[in-house]
Symmetry: C2
Subunit: 204 residues, 2 copies
């Protein structure tokens, strides 16, 4: 069994490069990754990277757009479904989102820290401001608590759900927690967060 094979060999060259780029960019960020890192990770030559993608920046933007959609796009269908009521919607959002984050633990920190100066591209892909107005979830929050801005609950749910993944690297380098302990915590939170959000919704 080959242990240090980096990228699946039976992918098209373009996909191998892109997969390598996904990995290196999300781990190190745009400025700190060298195209050589990506080429090596992909098991191809540096020149090929520029043959398939015109430049480092172009490759990055493709990866970035994907990641933004992965991070935000996963939320929209869950929040939009008008057939589920608020409680089960919260449960679904938290559970699905935590699963996605466990599979992509460094996605949030990557997107949120590398998003600077990507306004142009983003607005095309994710017209979030318009979506957020008429989405079923927001309406239900408004109904339940007309006295509190729905965005507050959004922040609370995302904060409780996403923040652990943002802080994990720090806690990990400080030796406070390791990966398996973290995953155990997250699986506890899968049941707890919906409970807590419910309590928050009732708080006076």
């Amino acid at each position: 069994m080959a242990k240090k094979i980096k990228i699946d060999a039976d992918l098209s060259t373009g996909e191998k490069i892109k997969e390598a780029a996904r990995k290196v960019f999300t781990q190190k960020g745009y400025a700190a990754t060298r195209t050589r890192d990506i080429a090596e990770e992909a098991g191809i030559n540096l020149a090929l990277l520029n043959y398939y993608f015109r430049s480092k920046e172009k490759l990055f933007k493709e990866v970035m757009l994907e990641k933004v959609q992965q991070l935000f796009g996963a939320l929209l269908p869950l929040m939009s479904d008008p057939s589920t009521k608020l409680e089960s919607k919260i449960e679904g959002i938290v559970s699905t989102y935590l699963d996605m984050l466990l599979a992509n633990p460094d996605l949030p920190l990557f997107v949120l820290s590398e998003i600077r100066g990507q306004q142009e591209q983003l607005k095309k892909v994710l017209p979030l401001e318009k979506i957020l107005q008429n989405i079923s979830f927001v309406k239900q929050l408004k109904e339940r608590r007309p006295d509190i801005k729905p965005v507050h609950y959004l922040m609370n749910i995302l904060g409780m759900t996403v923040f652990p993944f943002i802080a994990m690297p720090a806690f990990e380098t400080m030796g406070i927690i390791n990966k398996s302990e973290f995953e155990a915590l997250i699986s506890e939170r899968k049941k707890l967060i919906p409970l807590w959000v419910n309590a928050i919704l009732k708080a006076k």
Copy 2:
């Protein structure tokens, strides 16, 4: 009135450079900042930067340690005080921390994304794992809810408090929110979060 003066002129050269470094590093991160950016921001020559600080990395580490202490250090005295009871401790933590974050909005994203590979330096300055064991706040949480790990409440409080500052740049570039709207939200949360944390502590 000189509008584009970058750094107060009546500082020692070393402090001018460090102040500029604080600003540029926290905005762009280590890899993306050029020592030339810092020199220009400080209104001095590039060579002087290397005269005062031996290298880019050394300058960065000084700034980084400061910022880590600012981000985590502010919490410790608040969480340690054994004379305050749980409710008012939560109120104090949230209120003080939000004030600090409003004054340094990009501090959390900077520290949490640039902390990689700083283990050595950090453990000297912040032996957090030991502190967290015996701190008054954690004990009180354990007493109140022996059935839930205290770290969960830590994550909830920090998530609700800090996460908005992490997500703000993203929401800002998407045009969902602007700075003054954000600050208004935060000042609302100053009263709401303690309420919510209380509700969470009671949730069954």
